[in-house]
């Protein structure tokens, strides 16, 4: 890895080259994410691909049999898991495992150690799933997936940001600007832009590319998105904000991000003081669900 001086600007291309060197370029997961978008894929076909990755199979079976799903019977094969959990639940699980693999890494640059970013991702994802139901977004599992992947860019940035982090923070504090503007000023790009880059490279579906790219700045997203895709972005944005407000795995970039009230309101999400308090109350009650899920996905 290159070790830039605090002021040296990196380019997306430089960092992008490093992505290829990442230890766990998840080939099977890339194939799976494409298959999962295909409505004609059968449970058997999916099971066959998952089986190619022993670790993934073991992990999926472990989670399928964990307290999170509370099934009465024991799931013994991948085919059974697909049949019983259903494609959508399986999809969000696969993304959860994918991001845990990457996010559990030591994120020193963002002041987040011991999987704190992972906890933040998981917390936001769980909020997003429930927010989806609350705001009548038709695919709660997709909301889970979109939210868990939102900070994809941070992991890769971390390899470089260790040096530049203090400069980013100082810039944010001194100029009283958001953290992403400071990232752009110091690095030349933000963790959202980098995340987008990776998501495209890994051929994630477009709406996930958009939620990764615009999770802090939803008003900048393409105007021609469908109503549902707009709502998905609003839910991811809100889930991100709420998990920061709740302090779930926040780093020293802390709460230096804006909440786009205008965008949320446009999508039918009310943000007056009482609505915000009701949302906070609602998220607090999800704590045990998050804990059970975190325990079931944990490595080791």
């Amino acid at each position: 890895m290159s070790t830039p001086t605090p002021t040296a600007k990196l380019t997306l291309e430089q960092i992008s080259a490093d992505i290829d060197q990442m230890p766990s370029v998840p080939d099977v997961i890339m194939r799976l994410s494409r298959m999962l978008e295909d409505p004609n894929v059968t449970a058997e076909e999916l099971g066959n691909v998952i089986q190619l990755d022993t670790k993934l199979t073991a992990q999926l079976l472990k989670i399928s049999n964990s307290a999170y799903y509370g099934l009465n019977r024991k799931i013994m094969s991948m085919k059974e898991a697909v049949a019983i959990l259903g494609m959508k639940a399986l999809k969000s699980l696969i993304y959860a495992i994918l991001s845990s693999k990457m996010l559990m890494a030591d994120l020193q640059g963002y002041g987040q150690l011991d999987g704190a970013l992972w906890l933040n991702a998981l917390t936001g994802a769980t909020y997003a799933k429930h927010l989806a139901k609350y705001y009548s977004y038709p695919e709660p599992d997709t909301a889970f997936t979109a939210s868990i992947l939102r900070d994809l860019g941070k992991i890769v940035l971390n390899n470089h940001v260790q040096v530049g982090f203090e400069a980013i923070e100082a810039e944010a504090m001194e100029k009283r600007i958001g953290f992403q503007q400071a990232e752009e000023a110091i690095l030349g790009f933000s963790h959202m832009q980098l995340g987008e880059h990776i998501a495209i490279k890994w051929k994630f579906p477009e709406r996930l590319v958009n939620t990764i790219r615009y999770h802090h700045t939803p008003s900048d997203a393409p105007k021609d998105m469908s109503k549902n895709d707009k709502l998905l972005l609003a839910i991811v944005h809100l889930s991100d904000g709420l998990s920061m407000m709740m302090g779930a795995g926040v780093g020293s970039d802390g709460l230096m991000y804006p909440m786009d009230i205008t965008y949320l309101n446009e999508c039918g999400i009310e943000t007056d003081a009482r609505s915000v308090e009701a949302l906070i109350d609602f998220t607090m009650d999800l704590e045990s669900e998050i804990k059970i899920l975190a325990d079931s996905i944990k490595h080791k």
Binding site: G111, E169, G178, S219, G241, M244, M245, M246, G247, V250, G251, S252, G254, L255, M256, Y257, P258, M259, D260, I261, T262, Y263, N265, T271, D272, A273, R274, S275, V276, E277, A278, I280, D281, M284, D285
Partner: protein, 192 residues
């Protein structure tokens, strides 16, 4: 042999006895409260963001209390027919409940309002785009107002506050002298 845990620099700001006892500090999570009348005891709260921590200390009796709340008022959130016994294991979630819960226990131990000082820590917030005037996310100041009102009814003065901004805070509260060490994540550490 186990290596001693490296201590954050700010811990040096506490007295030696408190430093020695730091490993035994009782950690509180959101919605919890606790009190103690043992001067060697310490409390800690990590990653306080939008929530608010109330630290109460009667220096004469050596009684301390901590409550970690998230919301100012239970009434309009829970509705009138809510079951007050069902607090989801978070009795101090609402300021209007937290203040009386923690003070009741301290009072039973012998704490007096006139000898008690209150400190408020937390309430960091996201900033907002649009939405007209005010920041609906400024839970911290709404919680702080709720606390001040309730405490003044009890005759307790809020001595110091460390509320607002946009960074998480950790605190360690020692009952020996009533010191409260505040560590702003990625920022400075000081006794409040």
């Amino acid at each position: 042999m186990m290596m001693a845990q490296p201590l954050a620099a700010g811990i040096q700001l506490l007295d030696e006895t408190s430093q020695k006892n730091i490993a035994k500090a009782v950690e509180l999570s959101v919605g919890q409260f606790d009190v103690s009348n043992k001067r060697t005891n310490l409390f800690k709260v990590n990653t306080i963001t939008s929530g608010l921590v109330l630290v109460l200390y009667d220096g004469v009796a050596g009684i301390g209390g901590v409550a970690y709340m998230m919301l100012p008022d239970s009434d309009y959130i829970e509705g009138e027919d809510a079951n007050p016994a069902d607090d989801h294991g978070k009795p101090a979630k609402f300021a209007n409940k937290a203040v009386s819960l923690v003070w009741e226990k301290m009072e039973n131990m012998g704490a007096k309002p006139a000898n008690t000082v209150a400190r408020l820590i937390g309430g960091s917030q996201l900033f907002t785009f649009g939405g007209g005037g005010g920041n609906p996310l400024n839970l911290g100041s709404r919680n702080a107002i709720a606390c001040r009102t309730l405490l003044s009814r009890l005759g307790i003065i809020v001595d110091k506050t460390e509320v607002g901004g946009n960074r998480p805070r950790n605190i360690i509260f020692s009952l020996l002298k009533g010191d409260c060490l505040v560590s702003i994540r990625g920022g400075r550490e000081f006794l409040l």
